[in-house]
């Protein structure tokens, strides 16, 4: 592609020029700094989402591996100094994982979670704060004792992560951000993220809320860096029927609310919610082994990116999940059996034979067997004594607020 009059540059020089534009000034002709992937236009464009996805999956796989190694070192570490450094590495690694997952979301892919399980709302809040930069400023307020079902848990965590990230980023560095969860009248749960920042510009607020509700296109074209987190939120909210909105508080600051429908919630019995497969996934088999599904996915992602149509996208997103095992991919099935006897309700609730059009959504699930089994209480030596649990349950709503303000001062 270089002009023939010039001496041809070595591949090292070309690579250096590509990586560092300043090199080109003294190396060779400016005409030669052509974009690196020039070949047939349409084909290259259509391949980009799949390529990006592949890289997202590889990053995820590396992040999982690094996480498992870190976890092993963290548990053995006795020295506070070194432990703190390990925590910083772990923190960075968690953010890498989050960004790779978000990339997949933006590509319109369903993020296959390494180890889906029912997660309590407290853990949802804390898992969400694990992946943001200023996590020490998060305070966990009153959070009801409910869990999010396994197929939606990680998406709710991702939504909350982005909202917490916004809240901490756009509020004074000394202020804290409070996350809380309340039951509403119709059995759904309202997650609230309150910050003490400057608030959102009122006319921008309307546009953002419209985007979050799926009624307006994402303003990515204007500024790719702005509101990227909220674009992720709107994708996930549409896929899981969450209702996300932002409001300015009269006292200053912003409140972000997420309404988690009752169909995504379930009861959690203390001490029983942990399945057999709780160890950190050492081998992320599924993401790596999944073959690229070029055509279907790229169309889907194109539509999700382009059209703000909120009646189509959720079902598309869900059928993307249900279509996975039929892609000729044994990964999904293999992982089902490997996660130990947990019932795989995800696959049942989003079966391919369900009507693809219309408002198919995951139904409210009956109490999971592993939860129902231990409601008798006292069966395991580690469970609470019955009277303590009953007392604590009765008392938890009447207690005073300062007790709930998260960790002790």
């Amino acid at each position: 592609m270089g002009p023939s009059s010039r001496r041809r540059a070595t591949w090292r020089q070309r690579a250096a020029r590509w990586l560092d534009p300043t090199v080109a000034q003294w190396a060779v002709a400016p005409q030669e700094t052509a974009p690196p992937p020039p070949p047939p236009e349409d084909r290259a464009d259509s391949l980009w989402p799949a390529i990006c996805e592949q890289f997202a999956l590889r990053i995820l796989a590396s992040a999982y591996q690094m996480g498992s190694h870190l976890e092993a070192v963290e548990t053995d570490e006795q020295d506070p100094e070194r432990l703190e450094r390990l925590y910083r590495i772990d923190h960075a690694n968690t953010r890498i994982r989050r960004h790779a997952e978000n990339l997949q979301v933006l590509l319109g892919r369903r993020v296959e979670d390494a180890n889906p399980q029912t997660v309590t709302l407290v853990d949802v809040a804390r898992a969400a704060s694990s992946a943001i930069e200023y996590y020490p400023r998060i305070r966990v307020g009153h959070v009801v004792d409910l869990g999010v079902v396994e197929f939606a848990a990680d998406d709710v965590i991702r939504v909350l992560t982005e909202l917490l990230d916004n809240a901490t980023r756009f509020s004074p560095p000394s202020s804290s951000v409070i996350v809380s969860a309340y039951v509403t009248e119709d059995g759904s749960v309202l997650l609230r993220v309150e910050d003490a920042g400057v608030g959102v510009n009122p006319d921008q607020l309307a546009a953002l809320n419209a985007m979050l509700a799926g009624n307006a296109p994402a303003p990515v074209a204007v500024d790719p860096a702005a509101h990227l987190g909220l674009v992720v939120v709107s994708h996930l909210a549409r896929a899981n029927h969450l209702r996300v909105s932002l409001t300015n508080r009269p006292s200053g600051g912003t409140t972000a609310t997420v309404l988690v429908p009752g169909s995504l919630l379930c009861e959690v019995v203390p001490g029983a919610q942990r399945g057999p497969a709780m160890t950190f996934p050492t081998e992320p088999t599924a993401p790596v082994s999944r073959p690229p599904t070029w055509n279907g996915n790229q169309q889907r992602s194109a539509q999700m990116m382009a059209s703000p149509d909120n009646t189509k996208s959720p079902t598309r997103h869900l059928t993307a999940l249900s279509a996975l095992p039929t892609d000729g991919n044994p990964g999904g099935q293999a992982r089902q059996s490997s996660t130990g006897g947990l019932p795989r309700r995800v696959r049942e609730s989003v079966r391919p034979d369900a009507s693809p059009a219309g408002t198919h959504r995951p139904q409210r699930l009956a109490a999971a067997p592993q939860h129902g089994g231990s409601t008798g209480g006292g069966s395991s030596p580690d469970a609470w004594p019955d009277e303590t649990a009953a007392f604590a349950a009765g008392v938890s709503d009447a207690q005073s607020a300062p007790l709930n303000e998260g960790h002790l001062p």
């Binding site: 506070p80 853990d123 709780m278």
Partner: protein, 114 residues
């Protein structure tokens, strides 16, 4: 026995802190002077579980194992609870590693295992 969901990273449980106000050894004994169920219900899960389990006098290492937390997290949580006087840390100043009482406890522990 609560083991953390793997996406909840340990640094979040302690707010990034790893140091404690007082030196907590693996065998430092800890107990709850008077159990307060209302207080327990207001705690976060791992603090609560630790508070519940410490009703019987236990060592830090034991609590870490029983609560399914790493030692680093357990130390900070114990320290936080102790700072509010809800948890009592029993200081026994062993003069050396060959203190008579320490060796006695070691012997008793080994005998229990055998």
């Amino acid at each position: 026995m609560p083991t953390q969901y793997w996406k909840v990273r340990p640094y979040v449980l302690t707010g990034g802190r790893t140091r404690t106000r007082q030196h907590l050894l693996v065998h430092t004994l800890v107990s709850v002077p008077y159990y307060d169920a209302v207080f327990a219900s207001g705690l976060l899960p791992e603090s609560r579980s630790l508070y519940e389990h410490a009703r019987k006098t236990r060592s830090v290492a034991e609590l870490s194992a029983v609560c399914g937390m790493s030692l680093g997290v357990t130390r900070v949580v114990v320290d936080d609870l102790a700072a509010t006087d809800r948890l009592q840390i029993h200081r026994d100043n062993y003069g050396s590693a060959f203190d008579y009482r320490l060796l006695e406890r070691l012997r008793d522990g080994l005998r229990q295992l055998a």
